[in-house]
């Protein structure tokens, strides 16, 4: 497998150094390191890395905020993965990041991310097309939801959910299942209802559903 290529945007020099050393040490190519959002965008446009690792909040010296840069990359170059490093225990950043699909996206809290071996794995998983959510965030999102699992879903809905968990958007799910996109949407609405996740903003519903799916599967495996 080809080496994973990344760029890093982090305004704290010490932390940036730490992260890049850690990644290099574990066989990942770090193409660029910067503290500035605009430079990050330029580097991403020219180098087309597998993953852009972005501090959600770049310092006041940066013209482009980390989150804005991340959203610009999602819009402009969807094939580039985005991993947000954040100090915020807040779900909306991730749900906003993946509002057009959960492929190649990640949100990790800095406190848990660096140093541990999980970080390299996370970068590799995103490069491979998957997604990563910090356990603290998924705990926040699933808080108060019963562990009833996916028993209430029809086989069709389960299939849609599994594809959704792979990171596909509605169009891709429809193509894979050989059904129309609007049919996919109908399945998804019914699935949300069956899972009881209508009490959260629309943007969060997909994420919550996927996280529930993930938890149920882990429960079965474990």
């Amino acid at each position: 497998m080809a080496r994973v290529r990344v760029v890093i945007a982090e305004d704290q020099a010490l932390l940036r150094q730490l992260v890049s050393e850690h990644l290099r040490h574990n066989g990942i190519d770090v193409l660029a390191e910067t503290a500035d959002g605009a430079r990050l965008l330029a580097a991403v446009r020219t180098a087309r890395p597998d993953v852009a690792i972005i501090d959600i909040k770049l310092g006041p010296e940066s013209d482009v905020d980390g989150m804005s840069a991340a959203m610009a990359i999602r819009r402009e170059l969807p094939e580039v993965g985005v991993l947000l490093l954040s100090q915020y225990r807040e779900v909306r950043f991730f749900t906003t990041l993946v509002k057009d699909g959960m492929r190649k996206a990640g949100y990790l809290l800095k406190e848990g991310a660096t140093g541990a071996g999980g970080f390299v794995a996370a970068v590799e998983r995103i490069a491979a097309g998957g997604y990563v959510v910090d356990p603290a965030i998924s705990a926040l999102m699933l808080k108060g939801r019963s562990h009833q699992g996916l028993d209430g879903l029809t086989p069709r809905q389960l299939e849609v959910l599994a594809l959704m968990a792979e990171g596909l958007n509605n169009g891709a799910i429809g193509a894979r299942m050989n059904i129309k996109e609007c049919t996919v949407e109908t399945h998804i609405r019914a699935m949300f209802a069956n899972l009881g996740i209508q009490d959260v903003p629309e943007i969060n519903q997909r994420v919550v559903a996927v996280l529930m799916y993930l938890r149920a599967r882990q429960g079965r495996e474990g």
Binding site: Q12, L14, L15, L18, K57, G59, D65, M67, S68, M71, Q87, Y88, R89, E90, V91, R92, F93, T95, T96, K110, E111, T114, G115, A116, L140, K143, G144, D199, V200, P201, E202, I203, N204
Partner: protein
Amino acid sequence: MRLIGFLSACGVALGSAGLYLKWRDGSHPHADVILGGLTGFLFLAAGVVAHARKPHARVGLLMVLVGVSLFAEDLQFSPTPWVFTIGVLLSHASVAFSAHLVLAFPSGELRTTARRIIAASAYVVAIVWPAIGLPFYHPASHGLHKPENVLLVWDNPAMVGIVNAGMRLGSGVVAVAVVWVMLRRWTRASWPMRYVLAPIFVTGVIGALATALGGILGHETRYAQAGLLAYKIAFCLLPLGFIAGVLRVRVGATRVDSLLVELGLSDDVSPERLRSIISRSLKDPTLRLGLWDEHRMSYLDGDGNGMELPADDESGAVTFIDYEDRPLAVLTHDPALREDRVRLDAVKAGASIVLERQRLAGAMLAEVRRSRVRIVEATDAERRRFGQDLHDGVQQTLVIAATHLRTAIDRLGADPRTPALAALTSCEQALGKVREELSEIAHGLHPPALTYFGVSAAVEALARDMPIAVTVAGEDVPRLEPIVEYTVYMVVKEAFANTLKHARATEARVRMRHSGDALLLEVADDGVGGASLSARRGLLGLQDRIQAIGGAMTVTSPAGRGTLLTVALPCKPLVPKEGEQAWPVSAS
């Protein structure tokens, strides 16, 4: 002033002479002599006073002329032939001047053609017409012991009789016309105008009636004599009435002053109250008050609409109230009030003081409001900065420290019996705990959900942290001014804290509605109730903050039936500036 001075000096001389002559003649009762003299002098005095008050109005001059002509009549009691002749010639002149005065009161101008014709007729009847009869008048032929008529041409009593009859008829007609004009003016006059007209109207009507009676029934009849006496008394009182009018204005001004004192003592005078007070003291129910608006550069009425100002002429009057050349207000009122300058000026002065005071108080209040908002904003900024410093500075350094620690632990090897390893692992755990606690503090000071995504996300995050079930209803609220967003966050946070601390509730509910320029927020629980602003210091602090930004809060918390917190905040959705982050604006 010189003419008036000269005329009144003549009048005084003439009057003294006339009185002496009339007294010596002895043909008149003393009371009559005194009454006549008094009337004449009072007219002179009133004329001078009126002239002093309104030098440009002719009414003072007319009054003096009435006084002079009254005394001129008395010249016919002179033993000197030429003086006697002048006296006879002018024996009815006062009637003409009186008619002129009544018709021209109070401005001194004859404003309509009808009035001008009637006044002219009065002069013809009372001065020109007797002059025609004079050449035929020989007193001896009428059985009178009088001096010679120096203008006598042809002693013809019959001719004199015809002329006198004609004059009686003419004066009767003129008098009726004057009464008619006066009645018409009275019925058409506004109340302020009637106020001005009253004294002259009453005497004028009595005098005209008496003259009409005399003219129609003949001067010798009992009714005509009684009418004449009433007229003489009323006529004597006319200048007194006028002077009383002047005094009454003074009394009125004092009342205006006391009203303004009353106004000045109360802090808040509504425009309508001010209007009604001015209207009352000027006795003009049609009076309107317009307040100057700095921003719209125009006068606004009580409903805040721009005011159309009428032309300042016969049919309408406009008085501007300024303070040191700065416009404050405008009055539109009955034109008749112009006749009462003193009162109008007093009201103007008083109103300008009240309005200027109000303006200053308003400016001060606005500044206090602005500074309150600034204080709240400064507090918010300070919290935000502090929270951000914790997030971005302290926490990140802790992350780095933890990373180094981890590396150290890793390098020590995996043997858990190494004594240093146990210590370092405990240290790592403690560091983790510090980071968590710090994160919580930073989160409360500077909730990223609020800063990045607005109130809906922040409230959602707060709801998620609650250990009881919380329903958040309502659509996503757009981004608002930071001060409003932070207020919403604080309200919900405080309400949740109270719910947990005091309410023993099983569930809570948040509802937000945004409509263009206001945000309505409700936080409710199903707990024990009994909350009040006075009992919860936190709520009181919120109240201050909410009021500072022009909002309102109510707490409904009947014992045993839950607590409902309702907050209304004025706000406008924030339009993101060009190039600003557009991603977090809405979650849908």
